[in-house]
Symmetry: C2
Subunit: 201 residues, 2 copies
Amino acid sequence: MTTQDEFSAPPRRFTDRSADTRAAILTAARARFAADGYEKTTIRAVAAEAGIDASMVMRYYGNKANLFQASATVALPLTGQITAGPIDLAQLAAALAHAFVERWEKEDNKVERMVLRTAMTHPEAVAQVQQIFDEQIRPSILASLGDDPDAELRAAMIMSQTLGVILSRYLFCLAPIASADPAVLERAIRDVVLLHLTRPM
Amino acid sequence: MTTQDEFSAPPRRFTDRSADTRAAILTAARARFAADGYEKTTIRAVAAEAGIDASMVMRYYGNKANLFQASATVALPLTGQITAGPIDLAQLAAALAHAFVERWEKEDNKVERMVLRTAMTHPEAVAQVQQIFDEQIRPSILASLGDDPDAELRAAMIMSQTLGVILSRYLFCLAPIASADPAVLERAIRDVVLLHLTRPM
């Protein structure tokens, strides 16, 4: 039934189509999770938004928890300076504070907001927050701290301060931190990060 | 129809009963909001839990948002030292860090957790968080900072750090901050609070 042509043709077209389908599913999932919340989002609604059959979503992602994990990815735009390896702690504090404020002042961060909101009630979203910290924040801090025995706690306190600013300024919009000047905020965060990096334990 | 006796009797019994009813409603509301979340909690369920008619809950609290605000009250056990008035900034930092860690290590803080979880999706709970800050945290900090023009921002950054620790350690249980020794955590918070109180702006 198969022809020589079918064997020799590279599986390129199928792979492309599969990648396109996955991308469409993830885009639709991000939109639905952000708009409706984790609880109310269904595989069926995501499939409808992507214009495909729900069985395709199930085939690629299996269940809602997996679909959430695959769609709610966050890539922090850390500068080359931060990711290149160990740097001076004052430079690291300034670079982290700058990257943080840039990201949160200039992007709407729909996915980040949705992950944090969902993490309040769903462990799968907490796992996502943990993964972002472990893979994208912790390594650059540990690299710069060398063999400091308190490196892990220093990194964790830095994460807690940035999560606190996200919560109070960007999610809850509490006064007066919500109206603070971004440059003033950046200096405050820089100083806290440097404190956590260097304070005597 | 009324007797002299009814006029002269103090309205004590009615007032007591009213206070008892209100207290029973608030206890029931706290239990339902904490267990079912804001969205799923109904006036009817609260009334059933309190063993009274739903019309009584409506009579006293009007609607779910008001009932939430009345029931989800948080009284921070700030020490007399903090609330007595202006104190030395190093003392204030140590006292705030100690009060914070005591409260969160030793109490289950069901109401606080519920308010924060609800605030992710409901503005009425954000108003509650703002009110706790404005009435119970901000005044003691401002009193100690005197006429410092940056006092408001200093207080706001302190709030953001403590909210970040609540979120990462007590709500999300992120590693490694969730397993940090309470005494180590208290010193870290003390140092950050002191930084925010004293850093050059």
